[in-house]
Symmetry: C2
Subunit: 331 residues, 2 copies
DNA sequence: TTGAAAGCGCTAACAG
DNA sequence: CTGTTAGCGCTTTCAA
């Protein structure tokens, strides 16, 4: 292994001067710098980051903790967003997945701490409240797609409310007045936010909320099928359907096909999540809302870097990122 | 920060003794060990892995290099497999995605090397030949879902040939004799292997290969649709269709629906890849072959750990892992 | 503008 | 069984 001393010897300077050159210290005469650079080049020297980390107390490494990564198509996007931004700053991600095991979470945080990570990102694969191990606070930490109830940790999540509003506004602009909402039955943040957005935007357009147009079910294909069936067989069915997510929309497609209703002529459909594999390949392709996974990844790293530079920043930002409409052919 | 010296002072021993306890050195009197352990407990001491790494020349970190992670549903499974096994050995993954950028690959390997990773896994998201940066050989390295032409680096890939054979055998056992193959037009390893497996198993059952039953197209939904249409409208159409992948199978479903043919009564269908989002949600759910992503992740780490322990092992194993059948209702 | 000395927290080598 | 001394490769502190 080539060390800084080898370079120093070759360049005929002290090894501290080499260190200065490596760290872009301006207090080095240009001619000296050139000599050092030449020696570095000649020896193909690469600094040992571990040694540097030990001394400088900065590893340029971020711990990236997720609850699951294998079972969701979103994980990759989040990770990519985080990594792209980290890479720009010469920072690498140490990834650990806990599969929701509480004890492993604790161990994982300890492990990351022992490795002296400069900060930790704690990410979930769907928007929800979490209870991270307490010692996550020993370093700067950012929550991604999740939050703690007391908002004591900075967090970034999708703006569900605005997303719900936007879907409805989009449909209203297309001329729809009777808009059904096929909704998850569980009271998760996504459901609460989207439902509220739905109601708010109806109200904003003086369309009274009609409880008959709101059906809840399991947030899967089958739930979507059931809800769509029920909602469309009423006396005065809606002309548009806002589906809680793309999987429910997929079920709704089946129901409408069964009822001999065409999309979007008879019923317009908008989903949520933009699950490529589903949304882009349904007939007709599904208009839906994209969850800002990549952007949340980027935001989390960016904010974390800020905290690392300035750990005194006390206010724990609770950031919401917009969900853009992906217009396809179903609405 | 609590250091090993604090523990030593508290326990009333030299700091080296603490180090021994930490490293499970048997040459420590039980009573001494107990004292040290008590002190560790009392101070909530956690060893600094960076310092340990610098001294021991082992970081217990593996570089995990991928070409893409955001755009494929497989990435998570591979990563999970790799991580699960690494975790058991107290090893963490430093992940970097290059998005296929050749220059970034080079930089990424350098970066990982500077960080003194104990080894590198170089993974792709579909089975293919690769040309990794040369300095990847500076540490033990394993290729995952890819290989180098001269087989000079160990590699693990799906056993495409056996997979193709198994599909055909499965269909033959179900009584089919005329089995069509809807195939990718690109000459990738998956296509070559599965096609050869198809031919071999037909031959093994004395079924002559009929070129009219082999149609190639774009390995997407649309290609599957086109091929299925063409193949089924021939004078003597097959009773079963082996589709190169699930996306082509998805297209084939549409074609058969158009032709008023039911699955599996009129035509049995088997896909390949087991893309959950597609396969499990088609009507009827798709029988398909699973790609061993999780297992490849595990194998790669396991093999890499072996190489790290025993770097002299020269033979670069080219491992093939089986693709299990996932039986659903389409065949 | 450059260098010498110290030391980050730990493990290796050797001695006792 | 335990301790001492050295030193991993680098940055920090202080001096020149």
């Amino acid at each position: 292994m080539t060390t800084i001393k080898d370079v120093a010897k070759k360049a005929g300077v002290s090894f501290k001067t080499v260190s200065r050159v490596l760290n872009n210290d301006t207090a080095v005469r240009d001619s000296t710098r050139a000599k050092v650079l030449a020696a570095i080049e000649a020896l193909d020297y690469q600094p040992n980051i571990v040694a540097r980390s030990l001394r400088s107390q900065r590893t340029h490494t971020i711990g990236f903790l997720t609850d699951s990564i294998a079972t969701t198509p979103y994980a990759g996007q989040i990770l990519q967003g985080a990594q792209d931004l980290a890479w720009e700053h010469n920072i690498l991600l140490l990834t650990v997945t806990t599969n929701g095991d509480q004890k492993m979470k604790q161990t994982a945080v300890n492990t990351l701490l022992n490795r002296q990570v400069d900060g930790i990102i704690y990410a979930t694969m769907y928007h929800r409240e979490v209870h991270p191990p307490d010692n996550i606070r020993d370093v700067p930490a950012v929550l991604l797609d999740c939050y703690v109830a007391d908002q004591s940790l900075p967090s970034v999540v999708p703006d569900e409310l605005a997303g719900g509003r936007e879907v409805v506004e989009y449909l209203i602009n297309k001329g729809h007045r009777r808009i059904g909402f096929i909704c998850d039955q569980a009271n998760v943040p996504a459901k609460i936010g989207r439902l509220q957005g739905y109601k708010e935007m109806l109200a904003a357009h003086n369309i009274p909320f009609d409880p008959d147009l709101l059906h809840m079910g399991e947030s899967m294909q089958n739930g979507g099928y059931q809800c769509a069936m029920a909602i469309m067989q009423q006396p005065n069915p809606p002309t548009a359907l806002f589906c809680y997510n793309d999987r429910m929309a997929m079920g709704a497609y089946d129901a409408l096909r069964k009822l001999n209703l065409t999309i979007p002529e008879d019923v317009a459909i908008v989903g949520f999540d933009n699950q490529e594999l589903i949304a882009a390949h349904l007939y007709p392709p599904l208009t839906t809302m994209e969850l800002p996974h990549y952007q949340m990844g980027q935001w989390a790293v960016n904010h974390l870097l800020g905290l690392i530079e300035e750990p005194e920043a006390v206010s724990a930002v609770q950031q919401k990122l917009p969900c853009p409409v992906i217009v396809r052919l179903s609405a």
